[in-house]
Symmetry: C2
Subunit: 237 residues, 2 copies
DNA sequence: TGAAATAACTTATATTACAAGTTATTCCGG
DNA sequence: CCGGAATAACTTGTAATATAAGTTATTTCA
């Protein structure tokens, strides 16, 4: 267990304040001096920690005025990855992106995956089928999809996926668990089978269905309409 | 013209060193003390600037050892967006993602765009058709696609797009200009027409073709093979 | 020659001080 | 009592200095 740096303590503390909703977007952080007292570190460390949060776009500083939590609509583009509280509509937006990118990832993965990769993927699928605790599913699901994007050999794709799952883990686990059920596990198996047979088209189809099922379940649960749903309905006409 | 903060001076200076290739991934930055001398600022400011670069994943610090430019393969996921020098293969990876996300964006855009948005889009397309300087094309192309993702009303999608174009602008303009030609302008007009007729399916098709043409041109230019090309060839069999 | 000891260097943190900008309060004329 | 100007209190920005702690290069000595 490596010791956390002082600036990391500050970073984590403020991030937690924002994720938990204790400080909402638009609101002001405690002043640097107060944070020094609370966390028992020097102002140098407080400033270093805040500096990082500024860089990723979670907060903004105003000389003489204080430090404020950015609103999600901030034009700082890195704010995509900031762990602000996400609402259900935000989650749908995220799922729409997953639909587009996961289907690309699985295509590339089926083409590029190695024997070692297949073994790892097999292990995950099997673990998933013998799950006892509901909480474990999240970890396995994340692993499964990240492994696929890793073997897509497209680093940008994989990195975007890492971010996506990081956001899901930090802010959406409650919502997430509600859309989990036995059907998801079968879908993973199907995707896996398509990958090992190097059938990228089939893998893509199963991945699209997988994401569409997740979206459907989520929309049902919350009686909301996704933009994707609207497009699909339009197509049926 | 707002005055740059000291830490921003440091940030920009180091970013420039990396983008220009003066300091390559894996190499060490000048020490904090040296940067103080070079830039004539205090160590506090040097550290604040570097702290931001650490946060976005461009560099990593080793206590006692120095500060190093990260390699693109760094597992710091924000490194996707860091302005390290990108090679041609990296650009192809980026184009593959654009293919997946731009087609989604244009679908949503056709559904959600407002009258004001259409007017803005029209202006861009017309400017594009009356272009005199080649250099202007980049700015208009960027504007066009960012406007589409903006009106997709999916904030994640738009933010990823902002990042993508930022990376292109910072690191890929030379490559980019080579794939530009008159055909691109016609393609934009077609996409625009589909959008104003609210035909999301057609808009998607034209966008896919647009990106595939760009990829083809780029691949021809550099005699490289994109993963996407391989998939397309496979499908033809 | 080789390994341990040492020196030199580098980042991490703390303290103090002041500059410069913002916000809240006080004060005073009407 | 009201309104606005002056002021005080607060907050971030920058600097200088000092020390701790880790890494790297050099020296020393067996």
């Amino acid at each position: 267990m490596k010791k956390k740096s002082k600036s990391q303590i500050v970073y984590d503390h403020i991030e937690e304040l924002v994720i938990s909703g204790e400080i909402k977007p638009g609101e002001r952080l405690p002043s640097e001096a107060k944070l020094c007292d609370i966390l028992n570190v020097s102002r140098v460390s407080v400033r270093a920690g805040i500096e990082k949060l500024v860089a990723i776009g979670l907060v903004s500083k105003k000389k003489g005025g204080g430090t404020y939590v950015n609103k999600p609509s901030s034009d700082n583009y890195l704010s995509v990855f900031t762990p602000t509280l996400l609402h259900n509509t935000d989650y749908l937006e995220l799922l729409e992106i997953r639909r587009a990118l996961d289907s690309l990832a699985v295509q590339l993965c089926a083409k590029n995956i190695t024997e070692a990769g297949i073994r790892k993927l097999a292990e995950i699928v099997e673990d998933m089928e013998h799950i006892t605790d509901d909480g474990d599913f999240f970890a396995l699901d994340k692993k499964f999809h990240l492994l696929i994007s890793k073997y897509s050999k497209n680093r940008f794709l994989h990195n975007i996926n890492l971010i996506t799952w990081d956001v899901i883990q930090k802010t959406l686990r409650q919502n997430y668990n509600k859309v989990m059920n036995a059907a998801r596990i079968v879908e993973h198996r199907k995707i896996y089978d398509a990958i090992i047979h190097k059938d990228s088209d089939l893998a893509k189809i199963f991945t699209l269905r997988h994401l569409e099922d997740i979206i459907d379940t989520f929309v049902c649960e919350y009686n909301q309409e996704s933009q994707y749903e609207a497009i699909r309905r339009q197509r049926r006409r």
